[in-house]
Point group: D3
Chain length 167, copies 6
């Protein structure tokens, strides 16, 4: 692991890390006649059905309605099915759709040994030779529960372990 | 009404309900120098001038400003007039515009008899032979006021009446 | 009107404007199983039934619910009736209640002549001899509609007319 | 079930439903140095440790920080432990605490037979002889998944079944 | 200044003010693993690096995360650099990008003399011969601090001075 | 620094860290007729005048107003002056006030040497012998700017340096 800052197939020393570019679909709809408790399962279903991401934004609509905008990001080939799912599981009668470009950083996963066990970290090269690191949330959560410690402690130990081994 | 689940011109038994697709315009602008009390009449004006929908999103801008994003959805032929209206009635100097596709479910309106009188329900076929139903808000509100009962009771009676007659 | 900055019964030159202090009740409840379109009529009813103010705050509840907190401010003698109204017209099973002190500025209303007609302004003395002024929203809205001009123009004319006459 | 509107031990015909009153504790803290992904597990822990409710409100703090206020409602005897939990699992150094009164409607649970199986409904008498009814979310969710239908359909069937049997 | 409503090079008496149209880039990313206190400096950096505007929207993501959407508006030629900056200074691994059209009102700046000194006002012709006016925020803030008066007073004086001189 | 987990005057091994308890004042007001750009300077003034904290919450008021609630936390002896300041610098005519208890963790500050220089960390003992640590935001920001690196890197280095030295 020591050398992982030295070699980077994605970014030769002379170049710039090539962020990946793809065309995705963003679906949006405003929901003003659906109780809040139906939204959680909807999000789970969308993510289980191929959405890359899905989220809610609180909005204020006509007639003083504290409503919610649903946003769903997906690959073009999943759009039809996800629209059908939104139509079936929400009260909406209309879904807005548009294309977006998405730039993504190439990433890879490593593991570090911590006093809470092995934790994966996600590495992304945001500039030539410059990496950002993020401990895997689910690993940290599992470790925090297993050791009955705050999440913050697992994150800190993971980052420290990675930092020490990397330097 | 009994048979309304049986026949569906929009969706032959073998097919899929044809959702309607159209290209609309979405106008957006960030408002950080306009008092909150001016927003309500603005929304009314926009809707009265051909906007299909209009809503506010609370945003956080530079210099710690708790500002508001205005969004307006409209047919392309209304965009010029609505932009002029936004420029006249808000403090903004710039309006963002982009096209969106909108998929809409074919819908029709029926009426049901309830103990609070006749209430319209909106029906939309979200999958072949599968309908979702929504009582008309304004009908329910009028009935709730006339009978001095909670809106929830009118909705429930309407859905029950529809369900009983439909099954 | 010229002299209105000179005399102020509420605040003798030597003193401090006496803000009014009273004990009010704040009712709050979290709503996660009620569609957004029911909220507008609820607000109207609360205000028509003696609430001094009522408002919504978007909150995020368990199970990923984008819910709404309702807040209602009222005099102690209206609390019973308003709680009954909230219980009847929302889905909630519990209402939180607590006392708050409210400090209010003494205020009075004057009128100014503008090119859009007579407009009331609300005046409040926030420090000895220092007044803040606010055009009456409903007057401005009516004038803006009658003259088909932006609200901003009516406000500006009103403030200018007041400022000119006052100085 | 037919007769359930006839008898109501909590509210003799001549009286008013006695809403239950108790004193609870509301804990609040502002969190501006904790990543969003740590908040979900925190909510689960709070609810598992005796919080009656817990929720987030987006706030805007100094230095343009889009932060989050955590609110936790609990019985007085759980306050110490929940504060300790918040101190351990968040970045905060200070927790605000105050008492609130909570009025609750007496409620009871019944079951109704629907075409999706047996579903519990929660009943609360919000005025003498006036009941509001809410299908149990978890029952509906389970039924919707088991029958692969939208939640809305299970709710509607449940309300209709209850309404038909009740009337 | 008296005549400034009479002549308007941008809008001959017979025409319509020509709002300026340009194509811009809107960058967006959802941030759920970055503490709130890192957002303020990020906004400053984006604006210092060529962003025309940048703002935050509170969103609700999967796993009950109270997250933040960052939006950045910029000219096409700044998009590469701003994306690099976002990748470097946030936790994100993906940035959404799309084109938007922006309509802008032609504007010019004048000055007015007030009892708090010279204040600039921004003028924009939103319809032929119809101007809206906005005092310059930074001028007003500086004057308010120098004279130790509320911002509202500086704004009002500025608008009044402009209105009087203009009419 | 090595031994700082061993000795803790605030919490003898046998006991529980004594969180500090004090009574504070929470001031709140709803602002619906004040432009967003006036809010930033207001926050600065409040914090400069003895507020312990001050923040905004987006709310939705009557007549479809996307308004803002201002909250200010302060010691009782600052309440009069802060109310006067709010009355002077906002459009409000009424301010709600109530007492809250605040529990605070005892904290102390240490410094760690990092590759970006000396950085202070705040330490708080949230349970006997259990410390949480937070790098000082302003130190990290200054270092990040001086070394032209992301804030995340300074935080990570600081936490790692602290963790290594502490263990």
């Amino acid at each position: 692991m020591k050398s992982h800052k030295m070699s980077s197939p994605q970014s030769p020393a002379s170049g710039k890390p090539s962020s990946h570019l793809e065309t995705l679909i963003l679906l949006e709809t405003n929901l003003d006649d659906m109780p809040a408790e139906w939204f959680g399962p909807l999000l789970d279903q969308l993510l289980a059905s191929g959405a890359l991401d899905a989220w809610f934004t609180s909005i204020q609509m006509k007639k003083n309605r504290p409503a919610v905008q649903l946003s769903v990001l997906c690959p073009p080939e999943r759009a039809d099915e996800l629209r059908a799912l939104i139509f079936a599981h929400t009260s909406t009668l209309g879904i807005r759709q548009r294309e977006v470009q998405r730039y993504s950083l190439p990433r890879r996963v490593e593991t570090v040994e911590t006093r809470f066990g092995t934790i994966r970290v996600k590495l992304a090269e945001y500039a030539p030779g410059q990496w950002k690191v993020a401990p895997e949330f689910e690993d940290c959560l599992a470790a925090a529960r297993a050791h009955n410690v705050p999440l913050a402690e697992v994150y800190r130990s993971t980052l420290a372990a990675w930092d020490c081994s990397a330097s």
